[in-house]
Symmetry: D2
Subunit: 351 residues, 4 copies
Amino acid sequence: MHFASDNWAGAHPKIMQAMTSANDGYWPAYGNSDRDERLDARFADVFETEVAVFLVSTGTAANALALSAMARPGDVAFCHTEAHIRVDECGAPHFLAPGLQMMPVTGSFGKIDEAQLGRAVETVAGGGLNAGRVGMLSLTQATECGTLYAPDEIEALVKTIRSNRSDAPVHMDGARFANALAATGATPAEVTWKRGIDILCLGGTKNGCWCAEAILVFRPDLVDDMIYLRKRAGHLLSKMRFMTAQFEAYLDEGLWLELATKANDQAAKLEAAITTSNSVRLAWTREVNEVFGIVERNRFAQWQAQGLKAYDWQPPTAERELLDENETMFRLVTCYATSDNEVEAFERLLR
Amino acid sequence: MHFASDNWAGAHPKIMQAMTSANDGYWPAYGNSDRDERLDARFADVFETEVAVFLVSTGTAANALALSAMARPGDVAFCHTEAHIRVDECGAPHFLAPGLQMMPVTGSFGKIDEAQLGRAVETVAGGGLNAGRVGMLSLTQATECGTLYAPDEIEALVKTIRSNRSDAPVHMDGARFANALAATGATPAEVTWKRGIDILCLGGTKNGCWCAEAILVFRPDLVDDMIYLRKRAGHLLSKMRFMTAQFEAYLDEGLWLELATKANDQAAKLEAAITTSNSVRLAWTREVNEVFGIVERNRFAQWQAQGLKAYDWQPPTAERELLDENETMFRLVTCYATSDNEVEAFERLLR
Amino acid sequence: MHFASDNWAGAHPKIMQAMTSANDGYWPAYGNSDRDERLDARFADVFETEVAVFLVSTGTAANALALSAMARPGDVAFCHTEAHIRVDECGAPHFLAPGLQMMPVTGSFGKIDEAQLGRAVETVAGGGLNAGRVGMLSLTQATECGTLYAPDEIEALVKTIRSNRSDAPVHMDGARFANALAATGATPAEVTWKRGIDILCLGGTKNGCWCAEAILVFRPDLVDDMIYLRKRAGHLLSKMRFMTAQFEAYLDEGLWLELATKANDQAAKLEAAITTSNSVRLAWTREVNEVFGIVERNRFAQWQAQGLKAYDWQPPTAERELLDENETMFRLVTCYATSDNEVEAFERLLR
Amino acid sequence: MHFASDNWAGAHPKIMQAMTSANDGYWPAYGNSDRDERLDARFADVFETEVAVFLVSTGTAANALALSAMARPGDVAFCHTEAHIRVDECGAPHFLAPGLQMMPVTGSFGKIDEAQLGRAVETVAGGGLNAGRVGMLSLTQATECGTLYAPDEIEALVKTIRSNRSDAPVHMDGARFANALAATGATPAEVTWKRGIDILCLGGTKNGCWCAEAILVFRPDLVDDMIYLRKRAGHLLSKMRFMTAQFEAYLDEGLWLELATKANDQAAKLEAAITTSNSVRLAWTREVNEVFGIVERNRFAQWQAQGLKAYDWQPPTAERELLDENETMFRLVTCYATSDNEVEAFERLLR
């Protein structure tokens, strides 16, 4: 029962196969081969717009580099209190975007509340030089709570920051972007640049690649610096083709959405099992491939002893009151590789 | 009626005089004169212990350099939600201590709550590599709300972080440290190194100097790096003697405490005026030279039109509920130069 | 005729196979699986000593992170004028080790001259606070000129800096370390920690891996920070196993030395062809898998038109006088994949 | 005989007086008073153009902040091998402009050689992503050798870098800018923005102020960021008026040029003494307030024993061959406060 994270599996066989196939012959290094360059066109097709593509090997690098491309001296980034960039990347955004400030904004179930964002922007805007400048907005789709922003919600948040700074850049952490698309059927364009997203960090690693993250820059004025930001942070691979090959296969015939759908579906079964159980309850409604539940501490420890690989979860600040003293929150994550056997084993555990 | 800040006045005449007196002749530059070096001994007397002294020209530099001397890669600094280092220094600590993370901790009236600190430390300690490391604690004395930590409270907070990391360094932002001492009669040692403070940033600028801030390093292993940290941030003055001269006069015959007492006393009169007024109320009890009040927005605007120089104040997160919709919080700050005339003018305003 | 660089080929079949084999099942992420951890023991065997291993995806990251682990505030790194860290990494060491200074030291054919190093160290040591501190030494083995330091030469340089700062850390950029070993038959230990090297950045990418670089930390006090330095720079892969798998295969049955020997041997043939040619001459004696030659500009352009993939090369400062006005220097690099056909094609070109 | 540096004297009495006069009453903090703002107009008059003025307390801060305002990711700054920013600021430019690379360019007597600059620019421009980008040019006027660029020389160097990057920003380190003007009679405009300088760091400290350095930004697109760069580095003084007052007096009735002329004249006497001496010789012709001489080591030690305060000087790389084995180079610096007595004492020493 491996529900600890979506990065414990290897690469999907088709991804692995693509890497093997790309292994022959000489290619110019550093992403300068024709085939590397054609990947931009692939992404342009998928996103229905011109886009500059920068591949890197970790999601942390993708997010931090994206923020650094957006950051001016004194800028404040607005993000959810629980955002990965704020609490789960060991300070990488502060390091790779030197001097960047972050202003946490609350909101239920991992989603930034529009009114709270408005207030936070006002606080910075009214705080004079001491407070810094209204910088960028960072959204996570799917969120850290496995929830989703509707396209209109994205647009409303973008509008909120841009009512203060009209050209405020907007970043989307899309480590689980494919899961979000798979869950809603939205097109990639509909939930990104059409709603104001300037840079999407599109994850491949958690959804069947082995290390493949794409920084997709929709706003042309952010492109030039990115070329150098990636290199000087040590994130430009010489044998780029292997990352290119992964993404080729990932996008081919919709593999990325197929794998995300598989993960979401397996999570739906786990959710169903929890809903019908007496011993455990859902923390909130599942939307993608993460299920959050609440259970007595003792019982969770038993489950772990019985082979459940999953983390107990620090409840988000806004959801702390959901738990009783003797309870713990836990998170189950599925991925493309989650088997029916594993799901059934969890179902048995609940009985 | 100048109550906007304690940095709108010039230097106290005795400080100015000291600078004039120190103007003659040649002194080795960069703080290497005998007289510069003797200042360490002066501070050692005042603080009853060996201390390494680093003078810089702003409080922001003092705080950020202190934190940078303490910071290891991945470290998280724990500070109050309203701490100057977190929301009022334009990101200087993130910039001068590259990659430093800050974890805000709440607590009433600007003071860190012990239980909240415990929980915050646990969160980081339990968050694995993603969360970074338990780094340093930063306290502000007097706080941003003009309140004070009792010596035992300081010790308890230090103990809280050190129960997780036994050698966690502790920083004190003492921009208004003299006001704190003047209010309580504590000795400098009692509220600093004897309670676990490793670096005190002692402000002179807000209390009669013109630009004189001292980084006092009590912990020997933090000294060597500080020499270079100050220089490479451009904060080593060549004609150091002028800063030395300011501090000589500042400490001489207790001038610093005398000026702080004056400021506190004037603030006490403002507090009394508010307490006895019908149109305005105290936000919380004053302890040093800052008085926080609550009043109807309209009336505050009238006061400003009548010549009151003071800021309306963003209420601390923990005190937001103190205000009604149509009210504003405001802050009055006094300093050594605050005249009786100004105080009386404010009293008349309230009637 | 692909002699542009040793990173234009893919991965060696055995490496590719190892990655495929490691693809099955779940492994704890971030290098925490048993198998990831066993890799340390493998390296300990190869290097005959305890060593902490940090895998990253680029050589630039490896070098810059190594330097950052060594760097104190104000430190100056001494390296060769032509060192990759100084002129070929887009400033990555300055960025990932914030504030780090570099002092170039000359010497023939890419090797630091001992007397010049002594003078450079003295200059910094005698320059007071302005000059910063004597920091670390960085050596490249094989050098940017494809030449080699003898073990005694390494030791002498280490001694030179340590005569000023006894615990000065020493870094070795080993992007082509395997080629160096293969050329000399030295054991890994003999040219690293036994001679004073504290961190070796061991390259795999240029020698048959696809992205696999190992930071090998021999000095225990540099280990703790490295854990966080790697993460906060976005260089900790989640699915670490793929990098682990590459290195397992790389070290297995001496594959790394076998591949390097192959590359060196092919370069030897190119060198021989140049030596016996009338139209071109060697710039200096080849030692590993890089051959530097000098030829008339026109002729080099002809070669390129005839299919030679190779860079004309900016002559090292110390070797500028080797060229006439109408000549250019060029570099040929071989790798494990260089075929006899390619070598023969070059031989035909020279005739 | 104080010839060690021009920062061992105090402030000129008129500067001191101006500070005392500015001490009364309340002024808005952080440079927001009317009087602070009027200083911009003063500088605009002096420089015959609009200019944004940022005062800071050290020359190191001024230079490093100026460079950071100019620097894009990956940029390389071109400067003389002996430039203060490169070897005498403890890495401040690398730290305050994170990731900035510096490319040293040689040239006799502290001045960048035009052909060498051209070659250096070409090297970076032709070096691909690895080498970074052609960034800014930094000139020092007067140079570290106390020599001067003629206006046409400045223009030629600016043209050299801009022939590659047409909008390359150009920085002038003007720690001794007043001495340069006083020596040549050029107007401030003629040797700065009219010749392509975008930011001048104008020193006051070495020429009669106590801590007053002005970053003068002539190029409007560099202004916005500077506001935040200064603050987040801790370099925005709260009681700015004291620095404002220094500069008011400094510029008033040409005091700055008067003081610089005095310093230059005293240096001329020292130069004359050396020229006519048998025991010592000039290293090169003096142009401002620094005299460089060459003498036997023993004799120099004698002089120091007899009360000469002056540094023996590491000869510039390009001038190393001027010395014999048993000789040392030394530097004599005069300032506004250098007395005839001191000059005569030195003359006696030579006899």
